[in-house]
């Protein structure tokens, strides 16, 4: 009985420490964002003496193109989330439920492409997009992220757990393959679709590398790129950067809290569990 209690306390302590490691910087950012001391980040000890203000948030909204960056981020994230959900479900369904020549070969090649580090692909991707004259445009920002192999894999795994009889019943009922996908399989795969949507949203919203490379004027920046640009343009206005960062992370937090259940389900389903 006592041993269990000690074990519990120990576990709780470790978890608390872990939480502090993750939460600490976030809480510090929140504090810095509300502080009127521009040097707080270099002198954390000053925290007691510094005054509190909303000035950083007002500055972000009024004097920076924050609204433009927000609009860009919303457009790109929305487009990529919708297309990812649709295409990964379509491809996952095809790989899981239909028979065609070369299916395993194509799927194998797709999986193999995951072995190539993303960073290596940045230059060819840039050259291609540049050839299409899409640099510094929405298509150039959106196109490369419309499909993800990981999502296709996740959806394939999910559809494989659904009985094959459903395909046959739908065929006999007169469905073509797209109707079968749209009217029978999609309505029954909400948890998997939600997982793909959340992962994609989070990934795209926070994406830094590609928007940084594919844009060259401030009005095409996304939020993460815009925030990073403050570091160079001004004398590193940390409180302003932190205010922006907090604003950027709010949507992710809200989505996570609402869809927590699906998040965990999604992780579980990638592990091959139902």
């Amino acid at each position: 009985m006592r041993a269990i209690k000690i074990q519990k306390i120990l576990l709780f302590t470790i978890l608390s420490l872990g939480a502090m490691v993750y939460l600490g910087p976030f809480i510090f950012s929140v504090i810095v964002s509300f502080s009127d001391n521009k040097n707080l980040i270099n002198q954390p000890g000053q925290i007691v003496n510094s005054g509190w203000t909303l000035r950083n948030y007002i500055y972000i909204w009024k004097d920076l193109p924050f609204a433009t960056w927000l609009f860009n981020s919303v457009v790109i994230t929305a487009c990529q989330t919708v297309t990812n959900v649709f295409f990964s479900a379509l491809a996952g369904f095809t790989f899981a439920k239909l028979e065609f020549r070369g299916k395993n070969l194509i799927f194998g090649a797709m999986l193999a492409s995951l072995m190539i580090p993303g960073i290596i692909l940045i230059i060819p991707k840039f050259l291609i997009i540049n050839e299409f004259r899409m640099i510094n445009s929405y298509p150039g920002l959106i196109l490369p992220g419309m499909i993800s192999v990981v999502n296709i894999f996740l959806m394939k795994q999910f559809f494989e757990t659904m009985p094959k009889d459903l395909v046959q019943a739908a065929l006999i009922d007169g469905c073509n393959y797209f109707q079968m996908f749209w009217k029978v399989f999609i309505p029954n795969s909400k948890p998997a679709l939600a997982a793909v949507a959340i992962y994609t949203f989070q990934g795209t919203w926070n994406e830094f590398m590609w928007p940084l490379i594919a844009t060259n004027t401030s009005e095409m920046f996304t939020l993460p790129v815009g925030m990073a640009s403050l570091r160079y343009e001004l004398l590193t206005d940390w409180p302003a950067i932190m205010a922006g960062t907090i604003l950027v992370s709010i949507p992710t937090l809200i989505i996570f809290i609402i869809f927590q259940r699906y998040f965990i389900q999604g992780v579980a389903s990638t592990g091959g569990k139902e």
Binding site: D165, Q168, A169, L171, I172, C175, N188
Partner: protein
């Protein structure tokens, strides 16, 4: 309604595995045909080929004399009931039944009429708003049957529809499907691995093994006149007993095995002549073994001394398992429960000589 003609139908998989090796079956209009056989015999594959869910590798399939080989499943006017029900989980019972009709762009009023009629036939009227997961196995299978009925198909196909139900419900649904058949008079093709279900339901039974038809006949003919040793052993429960022995000639022909001697019944005397001095297999059903002390009227074989090993009393009758003269094989003998035996009991039995079956050892064909 439709006739189905299956001619030399074949199914080969890419790895050269033959699932169906040239099958011929002819199904009349309104007939209830059961495809039965051990697992892996190709019965479900054959059914799916009739449905159009599997490609045909060779041979022809006709519905009403029209070639169906490359017709899409939805254009064959068939309906299928699956083992796992295959109901659409997100749709209510009504929508499940109406789905196929909606895809055909049928008028709403007509759909409503058909679905409510089918629901009434199957006793589902009060469940129309429920989701499949809110229903029991038996109810779900009824919905699946309802989904088939509303299509008013030429042919109903059943793929082991009762396998997932418990024993009592299975017997009840068996009757319901037969009643439905009598009412609708459609052509129905039914797949099962359960020979009792096959015997109980089929007008005609097709026995398959290893992708080949072993016999197609009415249930009673399969029981009385099996064409070969496989059919003889497959149909009937408990299964037929087999003894290997030799044909000898004295004043007539006799089958001799393990110190037992059976005179060959007169109708078989001529055909057995060519097996003189050769080995044959003899089969007898547990139903036709009699206690010599009780049975006086039938023409029984000479005395066979047995010792009972195990008794399975199922209430109305009991199955007694025994060994013959120290042989390893266990045989069975059915007695009425009023004449129950106990393990270890020794008794003298005789086998009805009119009910003996003989099989060629090499071809396993019946000797007629």
């Amino acid at each position: 309604m439709a006739t189905i003609e299956i001619k030399n139908l074949q199914k080969t998989y890419p790895n050269n595995h033959y699932a169906i090796k040239g099958i011929d079956v002819s199904i009349q209009e309104g007939e209830f045909v059961v495809l039965v056989g051990p697992s892996g015999c190709g019965k479900s594959t054959l059914l799916r080929m009739i449905a159009g869910l599997e490609d045909i590798s060779g041979g022809d399939l006709f519905f009403n004399e029209k070639l169906m080989n490359s017709v899409h499943p939805k254009d064959r006017n068939i309906a299928m009931v699956f083992q796992n029900y295959a109901l659409y989980p997100h749709m209510t019972v009504y929508d499940n039944m109406a789905f196929g009709l909606k895809l055909k762009k049928m008028l709403k009023a007509e759909i409503y009429q058909r679905v409510t009629d089918a629901a009434e036939t199957l006793g589902l009227t009060e469940y129309l708003d429920r989701l499949p997961k809110e229903m029991s196995g038996g109810q779900r299978q009824r919905v699946a049957i309802g989904r088939a009925i509303v299509r008013k198909p030429d042919v109903f196909l059943f793929d082991e529809p009762l396998s997932n139900l418990d024993a009592k419900l299975r017997v009840q649904m068996r009757t319901e499907i037969k009643t439905l058949h009598r009412k609708l008079k459609n052509t129905m093709v039914y797949v099962t691995h359960d020979q009792i279900e096959a015997m109980a339901m089929g007008d005609k039974i097709v026995i398959l093994k290893d992708g080949v038809v072993h016999q197609t006949d009415s249930p009673i003919n399969l029981f009385r006149h099996p064409k070969n040793k496989f059919v003889a052993g497959f149909i009937g429960s408990p299964a037929m007993n087999f003894v290997s022995g030799e044909i000898v000639k004295e004043e007539g022909l006799y089958f001799v095995a393990q110190g037992m001697k059976f005179s060959i019944p007169p109708p078989l005397q001529v055909s057995m002549e060519r097996y003189l001095g050769k080995r044959v297999d003899m089969g007898f059903r547990p139903e036709y073994v009699y206690d010599k002390g009780l049975e006086k009227e039938r023409r029984l074989s000479t005395d066979v001394e047995i010792e009972i090993l195990v008794v399975e009393n199922v209430g109305s009758e009991s199955y007694n398992h025994f060994r013959l003269n120290g042989m390893d094989t266990i045989y069975s003998y059915r007695s009425s429960s009023s004449n129950a035996h106990i393990p270890g009991e020794k008794l003298t039995v005789g086998i009805d000589l009119e009910r003996l079956h003989f099989f060629d050892v090499e071809t396993e064909e019946s000797i007629l």
